[in-house]
């Protein structure tokens, strides 16, 4: 049996697979950011808080209404998406004529409020959310024990990511969206309600974050801070990928999950900063990001 730098290949496969699972979350979140950025031109700082909300809504559905995981996978993103649309209409929409940085500041404030409220109500220790019984247990792959749920996370994330890609790149709705990004006035002139398009887009991007939150609920603890640190990593992912393309953000998300997974094996101490280091390098070599349009 050959070894790679002292790590048996089975263990390496295992770690790569785990990296892919983390990458699923990065991909979903950076995709949501990219979709929102594409049309609204703001960076949604509240994305982490909304991801957290997704997990909490799933928890609430279960504990207050007895609604289980599978319906929650649809209902929670829907609820959070509607919440997002309300916020977009009431607040964010007032900032479009201003510098985009105000959008960043506003959503930062929103993130503080949402996190603070949940912390007051539910404390910080985290709430338990069980893995759905259909996905309990796992498979012995020979090189590792893969819990069924983690496999499902990768599959679900891939499905949603490529579904989104398909919708934006290949359908008429997507074509409209892309057109509105390029020239909102012209699209408006064709009788399309651009503000409504924008609201729906924001709601959809936010729903993606909430979907990631529901996926995360059974494996990470459901707590008000779960999105706060994650969002900063996702920002770095976004800088690395550049927000030029939908596909780019998906590929970067999964790719960086893999890189982080490898770091955990070879240099675990560095796994928290590896993404930031890569970001610095990318900035030096290709400031617009791997898939970005030139600024």
């Amino acid at each position: 049996m050959f070894e790679l730098l002292g790590i048996p290949p089975q263990a390496l496969f295992g770690q790569l697979l785990l990296g892919l699972i983390n990458g699923s979350f990065y991909a979903l979140l950076s995709l949501g950011l990219a979709v929102i950025f594409g049309l609204l031109n703001i960076i949604n700082f509240a994305h982490g808080a909304l991801y957290m909300m997704g997990a909490f809504v799933a928890w609430m559905l279960l504990n207050y209404l007895g609604i289980g995981y599978w319906p929650a996978l649809i209902l929670a993103p829907l609820a959070v998406g509607i919440f997002g649309m309300v916020i977009e209409r009431l607040m964010i929409a007032r900032l479009y004529h201003l510098d985009h940085l105000y959008g960043l500041l506003l959503t930062f404030g929103l993130a503080l409020i949402i996190q603070g409220l949940f912390r007051n109500e539910y404390g910080i220790s985290g709430l338990p959310y069980q893995i759905p019984t259909q996905l309990a247990g796992g498979q012995n792959l020979g090189f590792m024990f893969l819990p069924n749920y983690r496999a499902w996370v990768v599959v679900a994330s891939l499905l949603v990511c490529f579904g989104t890609w398909f919708m934006i790149e290949k359908t008429r709705l997507g074509a409209l969206l892309r057109a509105a990004t390029e020239n909102p006035a012209l699209v408006g002139a064709f009788g399309i309600n651009v503000p409504r398009l924008i609201t729906l887009t924001y709601g959809f991007g936010v729903a993606l974050a909430a979907f990631a939150g529901v996926l995360a609920a059974p494996i990470y603890s459901v707590n008000p801070n779960m999105g706060a640190d994650l969002i900063i990593v996702v920002f770095a992912v976004v800088v690395i990928g550049g927000m030029g393309s939908i596909l780019g953000s998906i590929v970067t998300g999964f790719g960086l999950g893999l890189v982080e997974g490898l770091t955990r094996v070879f240099y675990p101490e560095g796994s928290a900063v590896v993404i930031f280091v890569i970001m610095a390098i990318v900035l030096l070599v290709k400031p617009a990001g791997l898939f970005g349009r030139a600024a």
């Binding site: 510098d99 940085l101 960043l104 503080l112 409020i113 770095a236 930031f276």
Partner: protein
């Protein structure tokens, strides 16, 4: 960042003679200084020193945002690392307070050069995200490096003797030392803003391509103001370490970066006095709301939202428009 006419700082949209404004500023400075000299005899000096440090920190940040047009979301990195270096120098190396502060400030300057050079390669929101990510790196470093004491931070930092002679142990002595530093720092910032360098900076902020076409190397100016801002933020952080005799992870965490944005936004970005007023409000608020736990976060968030939606000019900005004078 302030590009549209709607967001232009009040100081620019109101036509006044430069000398008139300078005279007004001088008068306000004098009154504020007189108040500051008397304050420690009436209020808790430790609280006042905290206000002073944050006033300097926010003014340094405002130099970058309000006049350079660059929103950094990672200024905690410079504030905090200077705080660590100063604390370490005072405690472990036994340096006198003024040397410890200088060393801390220097560390922030070096960090500012490195991060600034990279960050200015991107603009707008990307710039904000890049600075945030770099600050997070500094945070992780501070958490793991042996000399920072991890979660414990560097505690019981000696206040020491100024120039090896005057003891800074008593709050009142330290207060006047801190006041001298902060006033010095603020005057320097005022000088920078009103120098030819500051004028070019504003030109770049308002219309970068035009400034470039006039032959200014925009990136050099941006880097310069970034480094100055980081350095002065470091000065504030190093001073803070001596006041509280503590350097901790709070100083480098991203919430600190958010706090300085809040202070500046609330006080009025792109105004001379805004950050000072903002610091006084926010620190007072934190002091009185400390018992509310997580509600502090909610309140801060609410101020952010209301500030962005309704009071983009901040307290001082509104005052300035009302007085029809730049403040």
């Amino acid at each position: 960042m302030v590009t549209g006419p709607e967001t232009a700082p009040a100081g620019i949209s109101v036509p006044v003679t430069a000398t008139g404004a300078a005279r007004l500023h001088l008068a306000i400075f004098a009154v504020a200084l007189a108040l500051a000299l008397a304050a420690p005899f009436f209020l808790y000096p430790v609280f006042l020193m905290k206000v002073l440090c944050f006033a300097l920190f926010a003014s340094a940040f405002n130099l970058l945002l309000g006049y350079g047009g660059l929103l950094s979301f990672g200024h905690a990195a410079y504030f905090g690392s200077a705080s660590y270096v100063a604390a370490h120098a005072a405690k472990v190396w036994g340096l006198t307070p003024e040397l410890a502060i200088l060393l801390g400030t220097g560390a922030a300057a070096v960090l500012g050069v490195v991060f600034g050079a990279l960050a200015i390669r991107r603009q707008g929101i990307y710039f904000a995200m890049v600075t945030l990510a770099f600050a997070q790196m500094v945070y992780f470093f501070s958490l793991q490096a042996p000399f920072t004491g991890g979660e414990d931070g560097i505690q019981s930092v000696p206040r020491g003797r100024l120039f090896g002679m005057i003891s800074l142990g008593p709050d009142i002595n330290l207060y006047f030392f801190v006041l001298a530093i902060v006033v010095g720092g603020l005057l320097l910032i005022y000088r920078i803003i009103h120098s030819p360098f500051g004028q070019v900076l504003k030109a770049i902020r308002d219309n970068e391509p035009r400034a470039v076409s006039l032959g200014y190397r925009a990136n050099r100016y941006k880097l310069a103001v970034f480094v100055m801002s980081a350095t002065l933020a470091g000065l504030a952080g190093a001073t803070k370490a001596l006041v509280f005799q503590l350097a901790s992870l709070t100083d480098v965490y991203w919430t600190m970066s958010g706090e300085v944005v809040l202070i500046t936004l609330l006080g009025g970005m792109g105004t001379v006095f805004g950050p000072i007023v903002g610091a006084a409000i926010v620190v007072t608020m934190q002091n009185y709301f400390a018992g509310f736990g997580a509600w502090v976060t909610v309140i801060q968030g609410t101020i952010f939202v209301i500030g962005v939606l309704l009071f983009r000019e901040g307290v001082v900005g509104i005052l300035a428009r009302w007085l029809r004078r730049p403040l």
